[in-house]
């Protein structure tokens, strides 16, 4: 019997990270910046990890960055990804200086290189959630 593919895991949305997911839904990649020390940071936190100030703001990023590193998963990280192997997972370093885990899209796995310039694209994962992915910049 052909079983239906397992649903992919979705992020858990909490008060401190909801603006990030509201942003991706609008197809905007937003991160936080501290209004006291001026530094960007990611992942979302109420307090700036540089100076612990809670005087922070959400800022729309350029959506551009580079592949910091990556792997190609030959075995699925969880059963929901069994049909996707081999697939890549990559750490992206945004031009704003922060890093996030994501995936390179619109690119063959064998063409992915460290430090390759990329830009964000969004894909709907559910009616509520859009996930950021990154594609090579031509």
């Amino acid at each position: 019997m052909q079983s239906r593919p397992l649903p992919k895991p979705l992020p858990f949305v909490y008060p401190e990270n909801k603006p990030f997911w509201d942003g991706t839904k609008r197809h905007e990649l937003v991160i936080q910046r501290c209004k006291d020390c001026g530094k960007f940071y990611f992942y979302p936190r109420t307090a700036c990890p540089h100076c612990l100030s809670e005087n922070t703001e959400w800022v729309k990023t350029s959506g551009k960055g580079k592949v910091y590193s990556f792997t190609i998963c030959v075995r699925p990280g969880s059963p929901a990804f069994a049909g996707d192997v081999p697939y890549n997972v990559a750490i992206i370093e945004l031009d704003e200086g922060v890093r996030m885990m994501s995936q390179i899209t619109d690119c063959k796995n064998e063409d992915i290189k460290c430090d390759m310039p990329v830009e964000v694209v969004f894909k709907d994962a559910s009616p509520e959630i859009a996930l950021p992915y990154f594609r090579p910049v031509a």
């Binding site: 858990f12 909490y14 590193s69 990556f70 792997t71 081999p86 697939y87 890093r99 885990m101 995936q103």
Partner: protein, 388 residues
């Protein structure tokens, strides 16, 4: 800075049964290892007044109750497989401060037996915890899996920056296997070649199956005590000469530099405390969850420059008969790896310094390093050990 040099010594070491231990629980393996370490030292359980332990869940209260040890001092620092190496440093500090006299560091996990029974395994899984904070951005939604997918990214960037090759990483697996072939307790004792490593299935690019550690059951125990007591026991003391620890991140995404581990700081601190240089070291026992872990550690401990790790392992230099013995037990790659390997580095280092290692004995070994690396290259704890 205070020093712990020769303020405490390792006097008893043992592993439990290792490999596949059907029906066993983590506690049973811990008790077995503890008894064997006490026997090794010539101590009784009643002599223990300090307790250290770590697992991926649970409480040291469980462990104390099970073993009926009610300590004056305890430490359940948990930052991955290096925790036990940290425990030994912490225990030395507690002993030097007079908080306790004799400390049992103990662990046990049943990755194999627990999977069969579908019960808690005591370790080897994810770090757990809630999904708030950084865990909400762990990469789970993109299919990021267990440790290998994370360590692979360190290897990818190291290859990108320094031209490190899969062949060079394979040299590490081959050399470590050669040591395992000389260790009757090691689980994987069939010879392998560089080509075998390269031909083994890719698990997570660029790491192959034989770049990865084993997944086993095992418990381990180490007993640390005062200089006075150490001099009057069955075995010769293995002195703690230097100690350092450091951690920098939880998720590898936020590692300050994915090719530079916290062993830079822990190693420098340990050497400074010991008043020794890299040339004084006769062997290195370092955490080998994956071949890349060993490579990064040797660079970061200062045995070669950053980026030169690949060349360092050429020509089986770290194998038996080479000039730089590394992971003489056969390591996590070939001896045992119960999800957290750090305690087994100490066990092998102590055995080498006592001259108990038979065919794999490093000739005239006087000073060695046990370097734990835990989490996702997150933490490092470096212990420099020596004999009289």
């Amino acid at each position: 800075m205070g020093s712990l040099t020769r303020k405490a010594a390792i006097v008893g070491v043992a592993e439990s049964d290792i490999g596949s231990t059907p029906g066993k629980s983590p506690m049973e393996l811990m008790a077995q290892a503890a008894k064997r370490a006490l026997d090794d030292a010539g101590l009784k359980k009643e002599d223990i007044d300090g307790l250290c332990w770590a697992a991926f869940g649970g409480s040291i209260l469980d462990v104390g109750e099970y073993l009926q040890i009610m300590p004056k001092w305890c430490d359940s620092t948990q930052y991955g497989g290096s925790s036990f190496d940290a425990h030994v440093g912490h225990a030395a500090a507690a002993i030097a401060a007079g908080l306790c006299e004799t400390v049992l560091v103990v662990m046990g996990t049943t990755n194999v037996a627990g999977r069969e029974l579908n019960v808690p395994r005591g370790g080897g899984g994810g770090a757990g915890g809630g999904e708030r904070g950084g865990a909400a951005f762990s990469g789970r939604v993109y299919g990021l899996g267990g440790p290998v997918t994370n360590y692979s990214m360190a290897a990818t960037r190291h290859m990108h920056l320094y031209g490190t090759t899969s062949e060079q990483l394979a040299e590490i697996a081959v050399a470590t296997r050669k040591w395992a072939m000389l260790n009757p307790k090691a689980l994987m004792r069939k010879p392998i070649t560089v080509q075998d490593v390269l031909n083994s299935p890719m698990i997570s690019y660029p790491l192959h199956l034989l770049d990865c550690c084993l997944i086993t059951d095992a418990g381990g125990a180490v007993i640390v005590t005062t200089p006075e007591r150490a001099r009057n026991l069955k075995k010769k003391p293995v002195w703690i000469l230097g100690f350092g620890e450091h951690f920098t991140h939880n998720a590898i995404t936020y590692m300050p530099d994915i090719t530079v581990t916290p062993a830079v700081e822990s190693g420098n601190a340990a050497f400074k405390m010991a008043g020794l240089t890299r040339k004084d070291i006769d062997f290195v026992q370092t955490y080998d969850s994956f071949t890349i872990t060993t490579l990064l550690a040797l660079e970061d401990l200062g045995f070669c420059k950053k980026g030169e790790g690949g060349a360092f392992f050429a020509n089986q230099r770290t194998a038996p008969g080479g000039d730089f013995p590394v992971n003489t037990s056969g390591g996590g790659l070939s001896y045992t790896h119960p999800g957290m390997f750090g305690i087994f580095l100490l066990i092998e280092a102590a055995r080498q310094l006592r001259g108990e290692c038979g065919e794999r004995q490093v000739e005239d070994a006087k000073v060695g390093i046990a370097n734990g690396m835990g989490g996702l290259l997150s933490s490092a704890a470096t212990v420099i050990l020596g004999r009289d």
